[in-house]
Symmetry: D3
Subunit: 225 residues, 6 copies
């Protein structure tokens, strides 16, 4: 984190087609394709029932102050996802329906908060996609400048500006900008394999056989009691 | 808290029209209008998708014992909201569908619990509005008398009998009886302002400009990387 | 727990009719009928809006490894519920939509996890009933053999293979195999009583009177203030 | 809570001798004597190994802002305990060694925080008694005026100015000003009884007999297995 | 759990010498020797700085009621450890200094609680070993009979009467009665190996080499930046 | 995070004198001097009563696997502090007394874990400084290679290799390598100021006056009640 507040402009984003394509797969598939990494923890869907993908614009706010969300929106392009970090644990409702109206107008695909969202009912009615640590109306100040487009920690994951972010009802996964294309390929392969075996599961074949796990549990069977 | 259990009758309630009018605004708007105070924390919607407002009847129960909910219902008037405190942390399911049938019949608008609710599916089917710390079927005793209509702590907020309570998907806010009218005025003004600026947000204007925040972040921009 | 991994076959199950009948009642009713015991804590609905009942097949997995879910499915009969324990706290997504496809094909009624479920959106679309400590895409290994059909601790409750498990939006309750029939009788009686008094609640009678609680709070009333 | 910030002066305190005498008993004894009420939850010793008692001066701060601790100290008398509430959940370190130096100089006996304390090592070295929700260096602002000497919610308990507060390694208990004398009598009686039975416990007599609990468990014994 | 409360007498205990010998090793060593199982989670030292080992006597109490601790003490032998389960999550202080006086007099080596302990300062002064989920003075009732010497779930681990329990500052581990001797052998071997390699660690040899891990990370080195 | 596991060698460290000098100040002072940033949350002292400072070597491990701690120790220099991240939430005891023996031999000043430490009693006896999210004996695998000396998220803070880390009983703060010298200057100035005002606090002067806060609360006083 730079010592003094700053707003970085002209960031380099992951390819927008790649970001969009990654959104065809679930968070679980991408997380697996990414070597079981990149998954945020404790960041839950507020809107629910939607999948979103896009390129990250990031901001870092002082806990209890949402100034830099306002500042970051100016630097969002259509197709971006705004990822909001905080300098200390926060259960403040940093993002609500008015800001969602603005974000939607600017083409922002989703907002991810290491803090709370507010106006939950209105966000759901608008179907603007939001993920957050919790839901709370708790109010914020607008007095402390922070940072836009520096790497931020969100849900225990470091997100850099331009990374790809995908979110669904399982949570949120971030993929480094330079790895996005490779991960897209892996995710597609993984998904294709899953669709291939699904009918066999549906027909009653066992994952123990399809997954080659039988040797691992061979010889463990004991007569019942 | 009085040393011995007691049931206070004849409480003075906030004006019922004021309480009803406050229900037109969201919890976030009222919390802001109230100087960022009055918001309960950790108390979540059980029913979901509803807004409720009314005047508080309060009760304080021993943890694991819901006797005073039964006692309090007798003192509820149509338009009241029952606010349930406990003497110690509790994850007991103190309120379920039978009591909801009773509360609904008595005109109670909602129940707010510093503990758990049970029969969640039935409560949702009835659409009886309940907010609670959690959902659990965990059973209660009915052996320890407590208090009705004393100030109680719920979600970290002190609620006195007769206060106005408003709840929605963001949580619950309580407004002191004597302040309700002033807060109603402030909330209406705040809401009017929000509706005025919303179309400008929808048209792409920035909150940085509409909220006068630009000076706060002036000079922070750095060429990208 | 046996010292070495093992898979117990030929377990004795509770009567399937009794298990099915218990599913007519809510978790709260059964928990009460069972002397306020048997209720898991912290295990929440993933699918939501469904009730499931069945006979338990259990497995114990190393945290972060879901091998024994695969192994256990082979030993599930139609009408079973798979109860998944772990050797250490785990927020891994041990069960997702592919395994749900398999479980559904095998006639498994529900899966209960002392860990996380993944693919939440797909599980909801399939309406396959799952309860878990949380929802997370976090990936698992398949390297450590564990146990099938030994008693496991799930949500603080000990579940033995063949026990009856009932789950709804309130959570999950387990009833010992040999007690299931007696508890069914008690639950039915309790439910019948509730249906009998419900119209009286709806007509405005007080639970204080219907529940015989009035003596407990007699003499507590004080003039208001 | 009054609508506008205010500092109440000239509060009426519980008798200082009663407050001091209550400090001779542990928190558990007073909590029991007080009818199992008054106990704060989640408020833990920072200094540790000390017991403190005194009369409450209270303040309510905006979360993340400790202005009113500074304001409240001016209104503390020797023998007081400062009880610090917040308007929203806070893990900020609102009180550290410099303020402890000041509080000690003013005769304040202890500080109780519904938030965090900082400078833990220095506080322990000074042996200034502090209880808090957690320990954190997280910094605060000094921009938002709040309240001094209004009732505050701390650890789920409502504390009014002038109440008696007693704290030890078990946590913190608050006793209403007007009840302090009666509770002192009850606690002394309870303590005397405990000291009377302690030698009998030490000599091997059973609490089942000394506490008259044997009838409750009569007939439960079953031959072992 | 048997349907009706009962007290099982005449339990079969693990060999007392084996139990004592296991106490020579730390909880971590035993947990590893036991195949990374048996470790309770969330159960922390109250007394601190002590190691205890013994044979389990168990009891299951209704949350908020400590009747069965009183009942269980009658069935404890010198060398036993009392393991206390609850029917629902509980933060009640179920065990304090008077009961510790009794337990000590009866030769009980330690008490392990799936709930809270109270009188923490006195317990530390007595140096009576206690582990619990938390520390709280919160009071209990004595009205609901429960169970003694049935398997209980504590810290997510199933403990049966007669099992060996070992506890230190890392927490608590339980070893099944019939496995105790084998685990003792394994733990001793493990400990001997650790003492053998410790001087080599102290002399600067790397665990990468001593543990044979170098092949796992071979080829990962990249020139710095 | 690089897509494939890697170990970065030849990192550039902050000046060791600066790192050592920062250790003269408490975590709270440095956090304030750093503009209220850099503070880890939820990372608590295991050893306790010590302050440590040094330059960061980082590693990222799969949750439940401590391979990369072993790998990272090879790259530690005297004066380093090892900062341990994980790919998913973990309560595994990743670091214990044998590794502490090794780290001490290599001149490592402290270990900071976004997970658990084990062998707490031995660590305290050795007085090897460790901070962790919790204490648990829970065992780890050694099968999954990860990363050494990449930026990691620990306690919600991004730590890069070579940064300065300071830890005491308040927790842990990280200062970016290039900012360390400036922050040292600021911390020294802040500390000097504190030492200057401390005698005035001790003499009874009020922080309200010394901190210039009186205007903020002017006019709030109301006659008592």
């Amino acid at each position: 984190m730079p010592l003094r507040p700053e707003i970085i402009t002209g960031i380099k984003r992951a390819d927008s087609t790649v970001a969009a394509e990654l959104g065809r797969f679930g968070v679980a598939t991408i997380h697996e394709a990414y070597g079981r990494t990149g998954l945020m923890h404790g960041i839950r869907p507020v809107t629910g029932g939607v999948t979103a993908s896009g390129t990250a614009v990031t901001c870092l706010n002082y806990a209890g102050d949402n100034t830099m969300i306002h500042a970051a929106l100016e630097h969002c392009h259509p197709g971006d996802i705004l990822v909001v970090g905080v300098t200390a644990p926060s259960s403040h409702g940093m993002f609500g329906d008015l800001l969602a109206t603005s974000a939607h107008a600017l083409g922002v695909r989703a907002v991810i908060l290491e803090a709370a969202a507010r106006d939950a009912r209105a966000l759901r009615a608008m179907r603007f996609p939001v993920w957050a640590r919790e839901i709370s109306a708790s109010g914020t100040l607008k007095v402390s400048p922070g940072w836009v487009n520096i790497p931020v920690s969100c849900g225990g994951v470091i997100v850099s500006p331009g990374d790809v972010v995908v979110a669904d009802d399982d949570g949120v996964v971030a993929v480094a900008r330079d790895d996005a294309e490779e991960i897209l390929g892996r995710a597609a392969a993984r998904d294709a394999h899953e669709e291939e075996v699904r009918p066999r599961f549906a027909a009653g074949e066992l994952s123990l056989d399809l997954g080659g796990l039988r040797p691992l549990v061979a010889g463990l069977e004991q007569g019942g009691k």
